[in-house]
Protein backbone atom coordinates (compact mmCIF):
# COMPACT_ATOMS: atom_id res chain seq x y z
CA UNK A 1 0.00 0.00 0.00
CA UNK A 2 1.41 3.41 -0.94
CA UNK A 3 1.66 6.12 1.68
CA UNK A 4 -1.08 8.11 -0.02
CA UNK A 5 -3.33 5.03 0.11
CA UNK A 6 -2.53 4.55 3.80
CA UNK A 7 -3.57 8.12 4.44
CA UNK A 8 -6.80 7.53 2.58
CA UNK A 9 -7.47 4.39 4.62
CA UNK A 10 -6.62 6.24 7.81
CA UNK A 11 -9.19 8.91 6.86
CA UNK A 12 -11.86 6.27 6.39
CA UNK A 13 -11.09 4.76 9.79
CA UNK A 14 -10.93 8.16 11.43
CA UNK A 15 -14.34 9.00 10.00
CA UNK A 16 -15.80 5.67 11.11
CA UNK A 17 -14.51 6.15 14.66
CA UNK A 18 -15.85 9.74 14.73
CA UNK A 19 -19.31 8.48 13.79
CA UNK A 20 -19.26 5.86 16.51
CA UNK A 21 -18.18 8.37 19.15
CA UNK A 22 -21.00 10.77 18.40
CA UNK A 23 -23.44 11.18 21.27
CA UNK A 24 -25.37 14.44 21.42
CA UNK A 25 -25.70 14.58 25.22
CA UNK A 26 -22.16 13.42 26.05
CA UNK A 27 -20.61 16.03 23.79
CA UNK A 28 -22.29 18.79 25.79
CA UNK A 29 -20.36 17.84 28.91
CA UNK A 30 -17.17 16.02 28.05
CA UNK A 31 -14.24 16.96 25.82
CA UNK A 32 -14.36 15.44 22.38
CA UNK A 33 -12.26 12.27 22.57
CA UNK A 34 -8.84 12.52 20.97
CA UNK A 35 -8.33 10.23 17.98
CA UNK A 36 -4.63 9.51 17.60
CA UNK A 37 -3.86 9.35 13.86
CA UNK A 38 -0.48 7.73 14.50
CA UNK A 39 -2.20 4.83 16.18
CA UNK A 40 -4.46 4.39 13.17
CA UNK A 41 -1.38 4.24 10.93
CA UNK A 42 0.25 1.69 13.23
CA UNK A 43 -2.86 -0.48 13.22
CA UNK A 44 -2.82 -0.34 9.41
CA UNK A 45 0.71 -1.77 9.23
CA UNK A 46 -0.32 -5.43 8.91
CA UNK A 47 -2.23 -4.39 5.78
CA UNK A 48 0.69 -2.40 4.34
CA UNK A 49 1.47 -4.93 1.66
CA UNK A 50 -2.13 -5.38 0.55
CA UNK A 51 -3.19 -4.16 -2.87
CA UNK A 52 -6.09 -1.75 -2.91
CA UNK A 53 -8.43 -0.73 -0.13
CA UNK A 54 -8.97 -2.72 3.02
CA UNK A 55 -12.43 -4.22 3.51
CA UNK A 56 -15.20 -2.75 5.66
CA UNK A 57 -14.66 -5.60 8.10
CA UNK A 58 -11.00 -4.65 8.46
CA UNK A 59 -11.96 -0.99 8.94
CA UNK A 60 -14.20 -2.18 11.77
CA UNK A 61 -11.44 -4.27 13.35
CA UNK A 62 -9.05 -1.31 13.43
CA UNK A 63 -11.79 1.05 14.59
CA UNK A 64 -12.64 -1.17 17.54
CA UNK A 65 -9.01 -1.13 18.67
CA UNK A 66 -9.18 2.67 18.43
CA UNK A 67 -12.48 2.84 20.32
CA UNK A 68 -11.06 0.71 23.06
CA UNK A 69 -8.00 2.93 23.41
CA UNK A 70 -10.27 5.97 23.54
CA UNK A 71 -12.49 4.26 26.16
CA UNK A 72 -9.51 3.58 28.41
CA UNK A 73 -8.08 7.07 27.85
CA UNK A 74 -11.49 8.51 28.78
CA UNK A 75 -11.53 6.60 32.07
CA UNK A 76 -8.04 7.86 32.80
CA UNK A 77 -9.59 11.32 33.07
CA UNK A 78 -11.60 10.32 36.15
CA UNK A 79 -9.59 11.72 39.03
CA UNK A 80 -9.78 11.67 42.80
CA UNK A 81 -10.31 15.40 42.98
CA UNK A 82 -13.33 16.55 44.94
CA UNK A 83 -13.42 19.70 42.84
CA UNK A 84 -14.22 18.08 39.48
CA UNK A 85 -17.79 18.98 38.48
CA UNK A 86 -20.03 16.02 39.42
CA UNK A 87 -21.90 15.77 36.13
CA UNK A 88 -18.69 15.81 34.09
CA UNK A 89 -17.23 13.05 36.20
CA UNK A 90 -20.40 10.97 35.93
CA UNK A 91 -20.56 11.35 32.17
CA UNK A 92 -16.84 10.69 31.78
CA UNK A 93 -17.30 7.34 33.52
CA UNK A 94 -20.30 6.52 31.35
CA UNK A 95 -18.64 7.69 28.14
CA UNK A 96 -15.75 5.27 28.73
CA UNK A 97 -18.15 2.41 29.38
CA UNK A 98 -20.19 3.40 26.31
CA UNK A 99 -17.17 3.46 23.99
CA UNK A 100 -15.97 0.07 25.23
CA UNK A 101 -19.41 -1.44 24.78
CA UNK A 102 -19.35 -0.16 21.18
CA UNK A 103 -16.13 -2.09 20.56
CA UNK A 104 -17.89 -5.24 21.71
CA UNK A 105 -21.02 -4.50 19.66
CA UNK A 106 -19.15 -3.83 16.41
CA UNK A 107 -17.06 -6.99 16.71
CA UNK A 108 -20.09 -9.06 17.75
CA UNK A 109 -21.88 -7.87 14.61
CA UNK A 110 -18.98 -9.07 12.48
CA UNK A 111 -18.90 -12.39 14.40
CA UNK A 112 -15.26 -11.77 15.30
CA UNK A 113 -15.21 -13.54 18.66
CA UNK A 114 -11.43 -14.10 18.60
CA UNK A 115 -10.73 -10.39 18.31
CA UNK A 116 -13.20 -9.67 21.14
CA UNK A 117 -11.18 -12.06 23.32
CA UNK A 118 -7.79 -10.73 22.33
CA UNK A 119 -8.77 -7.10 22.89
CA UNK A 120 -10.37 -8.03 26.24
CA UNK A 121 -6.97 -9.45 27.19
CA UNK A 122 -5.47 -6.11 26.20
CA UNK A 123 -7.91 -4.20 28.47
CA UNK A 124 -6.88 -6.46 31.32
CA UNK A 125 -3.19 -5.85 30.69
CA UNK A 126 -3.60 -2.09 30.34
CA UNK A 127 -5.47 -1.85 33.65
CA UNK A 128 -2.96 -4.04 35.45
CA UNK A 129 -0.22 -1.74 34.17
CA UNK A 130 -2.14 1.41 35.05
CA UNK A 131 -2.75 0.36 38.63
CA UNK A 132 0.85 -0.75 39.00
CA UNK A 133 2.09 2.67 37.85
CA UNK A 134 -0.49 4.40 40.04
CA UNK A 135 0.64 2.54 43.13
CA UNK A 136 4.29 3.06 42.17
CA UNK A 137 5.25 -0.50 43.01
CA UNK A 138 8.37 -0.77 40.85
CA UNK A 139 11.81 -1.77 42.03
CA UNK A 140 13.65 0.37 39.47
CA UNK A 141 13.35 2.40 36.27
CA UNK A 142 13.68 -0.67 34.04
CA UNK A 143 10.66 -2.29 35.68
CA UNK A 144 8.69 0.95 35.45
CA UNK A 145 9.50 1.34 31.75
CA UNK A 146 8.44 -2.22 31.08
CA UNK A 147 5.06 -1.50 32.67
CA UNK A 148 4.75 1.77 30.77
CA UNK A 149 5.37 -0.07 27.51
CA UNK A 150 2.62 -2.52 28.35
CA UNK A 151 0.23 0.29 29.24
CA UNK A 152 0.89 2.16 26.01
CA UNK A 153 1.20 -0.70 23.57
CA UNK A 154 -0.97 -3.58 24.78
CA UNK A 155 -3.90 -2.85 22.52
CA UNK A 156 -1.78 -2.53 19.37
CA UNK A 157 0.46 -5.50 20.31
CA UNK A 158 -2.56 -7.70 20.84
CA UNK A 159 -4.05 -6.50 17.57
CA UNK A 160 -0.83 -7.48 15.78
CA UNK A 161 -1.04 -10.88 17.48
CA UNK A 162 -4.57 -11.26 16.13
CA UNK A 163 -3.25 -10.41 12.66
CA UNK A 164 -0.43 -12.91 13.25
CA UNK A 165 2.09 -10.23 12.30
CA UNK A 166 4.64 -9.38 14.98
CA UNK A 167 7.12 -7.59 12.68
CA UNK A 168 6.16 -4.13 13.86
CA UNK A 169 5.55 -4.81 17.52
CA UNK A 170 8.92 -3.75 18.93
CA UNK A 171 9.36 -0.55 16.99
CA UNK A 172 5.72 0.54 17.38
CA UNK A 173 5.81 -0.15 21.13
CA UNK A 174 8.94 1.96 21.46
CA UNK A 175 7.43 4.78 19.43
CA UNK A 176 4.32 4.75 21.62
CA UNK A 177 6.47 4.90 24.74
CA UNK A 178 8.43 7.72 23.16
CA UNK A 179 5.24 9.67 22.46
CA UNK A 180 4.09 9.15 26.04
CA UNK A 181 7.40 10.32 27.47
CA UNK A 182 7.19 13.49 25.40
CA UNK A 183 3.71 14.10 26.84
CA UNK A 184 4.98 13.44 30.34
CA UNK A 185 7.76 15.95 29.75
CA UNK A 186 5.23 18.58 28.67
CA UNK A 187 3.16 17.87 31.78
CA UNK A 188 6.19 18.32 33.97
CA UNK A 189 7.15 21.54 32.24
CA UNK A 190 3.61 22.79 32.76
CA UNK A 191 3.94 21.72 36.41
CA UNK A 192 1.15 19.16 36.14
CA UNK A 193 1.60 15.89 37.91
CA UNK A 194 0.71 12.48 36.47
CA UNK A 195 0.72 8.95 37.83
CA UNK A 196 3.79 8.16 35.71
CA UNK A 197 5.76 11.19 36.92
CA UNK A 198 5.05 10.22 40.50
CA UNK A 199 6.15 6.64 39.85
CA UNK A 200 9.28 7.87 38.07
CA UNK A 201 10.13 10.18 40.94
CA UNK A 202 9.75 7.29 43.33
CA UNK A 203 12.29 5.11 41.54
CA UNK A 204 14.71 7.77 40.38
CA UNK A 205 14.92 10.40 43.11
CA UNK A 206 15.93 10.20 46.75
CA UNK A 207 13.00 10.91 49.08
CA UNK A 208 14.54 14.20 50.21
CA UNK A 209 14.42 15.48 46.64
CA UNK A 210 10.85 14.22 46.15
CA UNK A 211 9.80 16.11 49.21
CA UNK A 212 11.46 19.28 47.92
CA UNK A 213 8.52 19.70 45.54
CA UNK A 214 8.66 18.08 42.13
CA UNK A 215 6.35 20.55 40.52
CA UNK A 216 8.15 23.69 41.58
CA UNK A 217 10.05 24.87 38.54
CA UNK A 218 13.81 25.15 39.10
CA UNK A 219 13.56 23.15 42.30
CA UNK A 220 16.14 20.42 42.55
CA UNK A 221 13.51 17.69 42.42
CA UNK A 222 11.94 19.18 39.29
CA UNK A 223 15.28 19.46 37.50
CA UNK A 224 16.30 15.95 38.45
CA UNK A 225 13.03 14.53 37.19
CA UNK A 226 13.32 16.46 33.93
CA UNK A 227 16.79 15.11 33.48
CA UNK A 228 15.63 11.54 34.18
CA UNK A 229 12.91 11.96 31.59
CA UNK A 230 15.36 13.28 29.01
CA UNK A 231 17.64 10.31 29.53
CA UNK A 232 14.69 7.98 29.06
CA UNK A 233 13.60 9.83 25.93
CA UNK A 234 17.09 9.59 24.47
CA UNK A 235 17.28 5.90 25.30
CA UNK A 236 13.96 5.09 23.65
CA UNK A 237 14.83 7.23 20.66
CA UNK A 238 18.07 5.32 20.19
CA UNK A 239 16.20 2.03 20.46
CA UNK A 240 13.76 3.14 17.77
CA UNK A 241 16.63 4.14 15.45
CA UNK A 242 18.37 0.81 16.05
CA UNK A 243 15.16 -1.02 15.30
CA UNK A 244 14.63 0.93 12.11
CA UNK A 245 18.17 0.29 10.94
CA UNK A 246 18.18 -3.39 11.87
CA UNK A 247 14.75 -4.31 10.57
CA UNK A 248 14.69 -4.38 6.81
CA UNK A 249 10.94 -4.61 6.87
CA UNK A 250 10.05 -1.10 7.95
CA UNK A 251 7.17 0.12 5.85
CA UNK A 252 7.68 3.54 4.24
CA UNK A 253 4.64 5.01 5.98
CA UNK A 254 5.90 3.83 9.38
CA UNK A 255 9.32 5.31 8.68
CA UNK A 256 7.73 8.61 7.71
CA UNK A 257 5.64 8.78 10.89
CA UNK A 258 8.58 7.84 13.08
CA UNK A 259 10.94 10.30 11.47
CA UNK A 260 8.39 13.07 11.91
CA UNK A 261 7.97 12.20 15.56
CA UNK A 262 11.52 11.64 16.69
CA UNK A 263 13.13 15.07 16.36
CA UNK A 264 10.18 16.55 18.22
CA UNK A 265 11.76 16.48 21.62
CA UNK A 266 15.41 17.19 21.50
CA UNK A 267 16.37 17.78 25.12
CA UNK A 268 17.12 21.37 25.86
CA UNK A 269 20.68 22.37 26.48
CA UNK A 270 20.11 23.07 30.16
CA UNK A 271 18.69 19.66 31.00
CA UNK A 272 21.22 17.95 28.77
CA UNK A 273 23.98 19.64 30.69
CA UNK A 274 22.33 18.76 33.95
CA UNK A 275 22.11 15.13 32.88
CA UNK A 276 25.79 15.08 32.07
CA UNK A 277 26.63 16.58 35.41
CA UNK A 278 24.64 13.76 36.96
Amino acid sequence: MKFIDCNHQANIIHQYVEEQLHHSYLKEYIDHPYIDRDRIHFLLLPFAEADGDISLEEVQWISTAMLLQIALDTHEKVTNSEFDPLKERQLTVLAGVYFSSLYYKILAETDEVDLIAILAKAIKEVNESKISIYKGDHADITALMKTLKKREASIISNFFAFMDDSRWEEVVSDVLVYKRLIQERSSLEETETTTFLQALAKVSLPSALRESGLLKKKSEGHRHLLSSLDRLIEGVKAAVHRNMEDGGLIAPNLKKIVLELLPYAEPREMTKLYAEEG
Binding site: H23, Y25, L26, L72, H75, E76, V78, T79, N80, L86, K87, R89, Q90, L91, V93, L94, G96, V97, Y98, S100, S101, L102, Y104, K105, L107, A108, E109, D111, V113, D114, I116, A117, A120, K121, I123, K124, V126, N127, E128, K130, I131, S132, Y134, K135, T195
Partner: protein, 320 residues
Protein backbone atom coordinates in the same frame (compact mmCIF):
# COMPACT_ATOMS: atom_id res chain seq x y z
CA UNK B 1 -37.84 -18.42 53.11
CA UNK B 2 -34.48 -17.49 51.66
CA UNK B 3 -34.16 -17.06 47.90
CA UNK B 4 -31.46 -19.70 47.54
CA UNK B 5 -33.78 -22.35 49.03
CA UNK B 6 -35.85 -22.06 45.87
CA UNK B 7 -33.10 -23.48 43.70
CA UNK B 8 -31.32 -25.76 46.13
CA UNK B 9 -31.03 -28.45 43.44
CA UNK B 10 -28.52 -26.11 41.73
CA UNK B 11 -26.41 -25.82 44.89
CA UNK B 12 -23.35 -27.65 43.50
CA UNK B 13 -23.39 -25.63 40.29
CA UNK B 14 -23.88 -22.33 42.11
CA UNK B 15 -20.87 -23.18 44.27
CA UNK B 16 -18.94 -23.91 41.10
CA UNK B 17 -19.87 -20.46 39.77
CA UNK B 18 -18.84 -18.85 43.05
CA UNK B 19 -15.43 -20.56 42.86
CA UNK B 20 -15.07 -19.59 39.22
CA UNK B 21 -15.81 -15.95 40.07
CA UNK B 22 -12.88 -16.02 42.47
CA UNK B 23 -10.68 -17.53 39.78
CA UNK B 24 -11.88 -14.94 37.28
CA UNK B 25 -10.72 -11.98 39.36
CA UNK B 26 -7.24 -13.34 40.01
CA UNK B 27 -4.75 -10.84 38.72
CA UNK B 28 -1.03 -10.14 38.50
CA UNK B 29 -1.90 -6.99 40.43
CA UNK B 30 -2.57 -7.77 44.08
CA UNK B 31 -4.49 -4.51 44.47
CA UNK B 32 -6.83 -5.26 41.55
CA UNK B 33 -7.44 -8.69 42.97
CA UNK B 34 -8.02 -7.36 46.48
CA UNK B 35 -10.45 -4.69 45.29
CA UNK B 36 -12.38 -7.17 43.12
CA UNK B 37 -12.51 -9.68 45.95
CA UNK B 38 -13.74 -6.95 48.29
CA UNK B 39 -16.78 -6.51 46.06
CA UNK B 40 -17.25 -10.21 45.43
CA UNK B 41 -17.24 -10.98 49.15
CA UNK B 42 -19.78 -8.27 49.86
CA UNK B 43 -22.20 -10.83 48.48
CA UNK B 44 -25.23 -10.26 46.33
CA UNK B 45 -28.09 -12.41 45.20
CA UNK B 46 -26.26 -13.81 42.13
CA UNK B 47 -29.64 -13.69 40.47
CA UNK B 48 -28.16 -13.40 36.97
CA UNK B 49 -26.07 -16.61 37.18
CA UNK B 50 -29.07 -18.39 38.68
CA UNK B 51 -31.23 -17.38 35.71
CA UNK B 52 -28.48 -18.46 33.30
CA UNK B 53 -28.24 -21.91 34.89
CA UNK B 54 -31.98 -22.43 35.14
CA UNK B 55 -32.59 -21.37 31.54
CA UNK B 56 -29.77 -23.57 30.33
CA UNK B 57 -31.73 -26.54 31.64
CA UNK B 58 -34.02 -26.10 28.63
CA UNK B 59 -31.19 -27.22 26.36
CA UNK B 60 -28.29 -29.62 26.52
CA UNK B 61 -27.05 -28.59 29.97
CA UNK B 62 -23.29 -28.72 30.51
CA UNK B 63 -22.05 -26.71 33.47
CA UNK B 64 -18.58 -26.50 31.93
CA UNK B 65 -20.02 -24.54 29.02
CA UNK B 66 -22.84 -22.66 30.71
CA UNK B 67 -20.65 -21.44 33.56
CA UNK B 68 -18.86 -19.11 31.16
CA UNK B 69 -22.07 -17.20 30.43
CA UNK B 70 -23.08 -17.24 34.11
CA UNK B 71 -19.72 -15.92 35.33
CA UNK B 72 -19.56 -13.37 32.54
CA UNK B 73 -22.96 -11.89 33.35
CA UNK B 74 -22.22 -11.65 37.06
CA UNK B 75 -18.88 -9.98 36.32
CA UNK B 76 -20.55 -7.50 34.00
CA UNK B 77 -23.01 -6.69 36.74
CA UNK B 78 -20.14 -6.28 39.22
CA UNK B 79 -18.20 -4.00 36.86
CA UNK B 80 -21.26 -1.81 36.44
CA UNK B 81 -21.65 -1.57 40.24
CA UNK B 82 -18.05 -0.41 40.65
CA UNK B 83 -18.52 2.27 38.00
CA UNK B 84 -21.94 3.24 39.40
CA UNK B 85 -20.41 3.88 42.82
CA UNK B 86 -18.01 6.38 41.24
CA UNK B 87 -20.92 7.97 39.39
CA UNK B 88 -23.05 8.19 42.53
CA UNK B 89 -20.12 8.99 44.81
CA UNK B 90 -21.46 6.16 46.97
CA UNK B 91 -19.80 5.26 50.24
CA UNK B 92 -21.66 2.03 50.96
CA UNK B 93 -22.65 -0.98 48.89
CA UNK B 94 -24.40 -3.90 50.57
CA UNK B 95 -23.49 -2.33 53.89
CA UNK B 96 -19.75 -2.35 53.13
CA UNK B 97 -17.50 0.47 51.92
CA UNK B 98 -17.49 0.75 48.14
CA UNK B 99 -14.22 0.31 46.24
CA UNK B 100 -14.05 4.04 45.63
CA UNK B 101 -14.55 4.65 49.37
CA UNK B 102 -12.14 1.95 50.53
CA UNK B 103 -9.47 3.03 48.01
CA UNK B 104 -10.32 5.88 45.60
CA UNK B 105 -11.90 6.74 42.24
CA UNK B 106 -8.87 5.74 40.21
CA UNK B 107 -8.61 2.31 41.80
CA UNK B 108 -12.36 1.89 41.25
CA UNK B 109 -12.07 2.79 37.56
CA UNK B 110 -9.17 0.39 36.98
CA UNK B 111 -10.99 -2.35 38.88
CA UNK B 112 -14.26 -1.80 37.01
CA UNK B 113 -12.50 -1.94 33.63
CA UNK B 114 -10.50 -4.96 34.69
CA UNK B 115 -13.62 -6.87 35.76
CA UNK B 116 -15.34 -5.88 32.51
CA UNK B 117 -12.41 -7.30 30.54
CA UNK B 118 -12.59 -10.56 32.47
CA UNK B 119 -16.34 -10.72 31.79
CA UNK B 120 -15.71 -10.44 28.06
CA UNK B 121 -12.94 -13.02 28.17
CA UNK B 122 -15.28 -15.50 29.85
CA UNK B 123 -18.06 -14.75 27.40
CA UNK B 124 -15.84 -15.50 24.41
CA UNK B 125 -15.79 -19.13 25.50
CA UNK B 126 -19.36 -19.19 24.22
CA UNK B 127 -18.80 -19.59 20.50
CA UNK B 128 -22.32 -18.72 19.38
CA UNK B 129 -22.25 -15.41 17.44
CA UNK B 130 -25.90 -14.69 18.25
CA UNK B 131 -25.11 -14.72 21.97
CA UNK B 132 -22.53 -11.97 21.47
CA UNK B 133 -24.81 -9.89 19.29
CA UNK B 134 -27.53 -10.03 21.95
CA UNK B 135 -25.25 -9.30 24.89
CA UNK B 136 -23.30 -6.50 23.21
CA UNK B 137 -26.50 -4.82 22.08
CA UNK B 138 -27.76 -5.03 25.66
CA UNK B 139 -24.59 -3.45 27.04
CA UNK B 140 -24.89 -0.51 24.67
CA UNK B 141 -28.53 -0.06 25.68
CA UNK B 142 -27.55 -0.29 29.33
CA UNK B 143 -25.07 2.56 28.88
CA UNK B 144 -27.58 4.66 27.02
CA UNK B 145 -29.98 4.06 29.91
CA UNK B 146 -27.44 5.23 32.45
CA UNK B 147 -26.65 8.32 30.42
CA UNK B 148 -30.39 9.04 30.12
CA UNK B 149 -30.69 8.66 33.89
CA UNK B 150 -28.12 11.43 34.39
CA UNK B 151 -29.89 13.54 31.78
CA UNK B 152 -33.23 13.05 33.56
CA UNK B 153 -32.01 13.82 37.08
CA UNK B 154 -34.19 16.33 38.91
CA UNK B 155 -36.29 16.60 35.73
CA UNK B 156 -39.74 16.54 37.24
CA UNK B 157 -41.75 16.86 34.03
CA UNK B 158 -41.03 13.33 32.85
CA UNK B 159 -43.58 10.65 32.05
CA UNK B 160 -44.20 7.07 32.98
CA UNK B 161 -42.74 5.90 29.66
CA UNK B 162 -39.43 7.69 30.44
CA UNK B 163 -39.23 5.78 33.71
CA UNK B 164 -40.14 2.45 32.12
CA UNK B 165 -37.57 2.84 29.35
CA UNK B 166 -34.95 3.75 31.95
CA UNK B 167 -35.56 0.70 34.16
CA UNK B 168 -35.78 -1.54 31.10
CA UNK B 169 -32.26 -0.48 30.15
CA UNK B 170 -30.98 -0.25 33.70
CA UNK B 171 -32.16 -3.62 35.04
CA UNK B 172 -34.63 -5.62 32.99
CA UNK B 173 -32.49 -6.15 29.89
CA UNK B 174 -29.58 -7.76 31.71
CA UNK B 175 -31.90 -10.16 33.55
CA UNK B 176 -33.74 -10.90 30.28
CA UNK B 177 -30.46 -11.57 28.54
CA UNK B 178 -29.27 -13.78 31.42
CA UNK B 179 -32.27 -16.01 30.82
CA UNK B 180 -31.85 -15.94 27.06
CA UNK B 181 -28.09 -16.56 27.03
CA UNK B 182 -28.43 -19.50 29.40
CA UNK B 183 -30.79 -21.11 26.92
CA UNK B 184 -28.70 -20.17 23.87
CA UNK B 185 -25.48 -21.47 25.40
CA UNK B 186 -27.08 -24.87 25.95
CA UNK B 187 -28.56 -24.95 22.44
CA UNK B 188 -32.21 -24.58 23.44
CA UNK B 189 -34.67 -23.84 20.57
CA UNK B 190 -35.21 -20.24 19.50
CA UNK B 191 -38.83 -20.24 20.62
CA UNK B 192 -37.72 -21.19 24.13
CA UNK B 193 -34.90 -18.65 24.46
CA UNK B 194 -37.12 -15.85 23.18
CA UNK B 195 -39.82 -16.79 25.67
CA UNK B 196 -37.23 -16.85 28.44
CA UNK B 197 -36.05 -13.41 27.36
CA UNK B 198 -39.62 -12.10 27.80
CA UNK B 199 -39.89 -13.80 31.17
CA UNK B 200 -36.61 -12.23 32.33
CA UNK B 201 -37.63 -8.83 31.01
CA UNK B 202 -40.93 -8.86 32.92
CA UNK B 203 -39.30 -10.18 36.09
CA UNK B 204 -36.62 -7.50 35.77
CA UNK B 205 -39.18 -4.72 35.41
CA UNK B 206 -41.08 -6.01 38.43
CA UNK B 207 -37.82 -6.35 40.39
CA UNK B 208 -36.70 -2.79 39.70
CA UNK B 209 -40.08 -1.29 40.56
CA UNK B 210 -39.93 -3.07 43.91
CA UNK B 211 -36.37 -1.87 44.40
CA UNK B 212 -37.61 1.67 43.83
CA UNK B 213 -40.46 1.18 46.30
CA UNK B 214 -38.10 -0.22 48.94
CA UNK B 215 -35.87 2.84 48.58
CA UNK B 216 -38.75 4.79 50.13
CA UNK B 217 -40.18 2.23 52.55
CA UNK B 218 -37.14 0.47 54.05
CA UNK B 219 -34.69 1.49 56.72
CA UNK B 220 -31.03 2.33 56.15
CA UNK B 221 -30.11 -0.91 57.90
CA UNK B 222 -32.23 -2.99 55.55
CA UNK B 223 -31.01 -1.19 52.43
CA UNK B 224 -27.32 -0.97 53.32
CA UNK B 225 -27.47 2.70 52.20
CA UNK B 226 -29.48 5.72 53.35
CA UNK B 227 -33.24 5.50 52.69
CA UNK B 228 -34.48 7.80 49.94
CA UNK B 229 -31.08 7.85 48.19
CA UNK B 230 -32.68 7.75 44.75
CA UNK B 231 -34.95 10.66 45.52
CA UNK B 232 -32.05 12.64 46.96
CA UNK B 233 -29.95 12.00 43.86
CA UNK B 234 -32.75 13.23 41.62
CA UNK B 235 -33.74 9.83 40.22
CA UNK B 236 -37.45 10.05 39.55
CA UNK B 237 -38.76 6.59 40.37
CA UNK B 238 -42.25 5.18 39.93
CA UNK B 239 -43.60 5.98 43.42
CA UNK B 240 -42.27 9.52 43.06
CA UNK B 241 -43.97 9.90 39.67
CA UNK B 242 -47.27 8.61 41.05
CA UNK B 243 -47.03 10.78 44.16
CA UNK B 244 -46.68 13.85 41.94
CA UNK B 245 -50.32 13.35 40.93
CA UNK B 246 -51.10 14.97 44.30
CA UNK B 247 -50.35 18.70 43.85
CA UNK B 248 -49.23 19.40 47.46
CA UNK B 249 -46.85 16.44 47.41
CA UNK B 250 -45.56 17.44 43.98
CA UNK B 251 -44.78 20.87 45.41
CA UNK B 252 -42.55 19.23 48.02
CA UNK B 253 -40.92 16.78 45.62
CA UNK B 254 -39.85 19.34 43.05
CA UNK B 255 -37.93 21.22 45.73
CA UNK B 256 -35.64 18.25 46.32
CA UNK B 257 -32.06 19.03 45.34
CA UNK B 258 -28.67 17.55 46.01
CA UNK B 259 -28.26 20.20 48.71
CA UNK B 260 -31.48 19.19 50.53
CA UNK B 261 -31.01 18.20 54.17
CA UNK B 262 -31.71 14.67 55.50
CA UNK B 263 -34.69 16.12 57.39
CA UNK B 264 -36.15 17.60 54.20
CA UNK B 265 -35.73 14.27 52.40
CA UNK B 266 -37.39 12.45 55.30
CA UNK B 267 -40.32 14.85 55.17
CA UNK B 268 -40.75 14.27 51.40
CA UNK B 269 -40.56 10.49 51.91
CA UNK B 270 -43.34 10.72 54.49
CA UNK B 271 -45.45 12.84 52.15
CA UNK B 272 -45.02 10.23 49.37
CA UNK B 273 -45.92 7.43 51.77
CA UNK B 274 -49.06 9.37 52.66
CA UNK B 275 -50.36 9.01 49.07
CA UNK B 276 -51.43 5.88 47.22
CA UNK B 277 -48.16 5.93 45.23
CA UNK B 278 -46.65 2.89 46.96
CA UNK B 279 -49.81 0.87 46.45
CA UNK B 280 -50.06 1.82 42.77
CA UNK B 281 -46.40 0.99 42.26
CA UNK B 282 -46.90 -2.45 43.76
CA UNK B 283 -49.85 -2.91 41.43
CA UNK B 284 -47.73 -2.15 38.34
CA UNK B 285 -44.97 -4.42 39.63
CA UNK B 286 -47.54 -7.17 39.97
CA UNK B 287 -48.73 -6.64 36.39
CA UNK B 288 -45.21 -7.28 35.13
CA UNK B 289 -44.97 -10.27 37.40
CA UNK B 290 -48.23 -11.68 36.02
CA UNK B 291 -46.90 -11.24 32.49
CA UNK B 292 -43.74 -13.10 33.50
CA UNK B 293 -45.85 -15.98 34.81
CA UNK B 294 -47.85 -15.99 31.57
CA UNK B 295 -44.59 -16.33 29.64
CA UNK B 296 -43.82 -19.42 31.66
CA UNK B 297 -47.15 -20.96 30.67
CA UNK B 298 -45.69 -21.46 27.21
CA UNK B 299 -42.72 -23.48 28.43
CA UNK B 300 -42.71 -27.23 29.14
CA UNK B 301 -43.84 -28.11 32.66
CA UNK B 302 -40.92 -29.29 34.75
CA UNK B 303 -38.91 -28.53 37.87
CA UNK B 304 -37.16 -25.59 36.21
CA UNK B 305 -40.44 -23.96 35.30
CA UNK B 306 -41.69 -24.36 38.86
CA UNK B 307 -38.46 -22.83 40.16
CA UNK B 308 -38.65 -19.86 37.79
CA UNK B 309 -42.21 -19.31 38.91
CA UNK B 310 -41.22 -19.42 42.58
CA UNK B 311 -38.36 -16.99 42.02
CA UNK B 312 -40.66 -14.60 40.21
CA UNK B 313 -43.18 -14.77 43.06
CA UNK B 314 -40.42 -14.33 45.62
CA UNK B 315 -39.21 -11.20 43.85
CA UNK B 316 -42.77 -9.89 43.83
CA UNK B 317 -43.00 -10.25 47.58
CA UNK B 318 -39.51 -9.32 48.71
CA UNK B 319 -39.18 -6.82 51.50
CA UNK B 320 -35.50 -5.85 51.07
Amino acid sequence: MKLNRLYSFLKADIEEIEKELEVAIQSDSSLLQEASLHLLQAGGKRIRPVFVLLSAKYGDYDINVVKHAAVSLELMHMASLVHDDVIDDAELRRGKPTIKAQWDNRVAMYTGDYIFARALEYMTHIRVPEAHRILSHTLVELCKGEIAQIQDKYRYDQHLRDYLLRIKRKTALLIAVSCQLGAISSGAPEEVHKRLFNFGYNVGMSYQIIDDILDLTSTEKELGKPAGSDLWQGNITLPVLYAMDVPEVKGKIIRVREESSPEEIQSVIEAIRGTDAIERSYALSKRYLDRALEDLDHLPANKVKRTLKNIANYIGKRKY
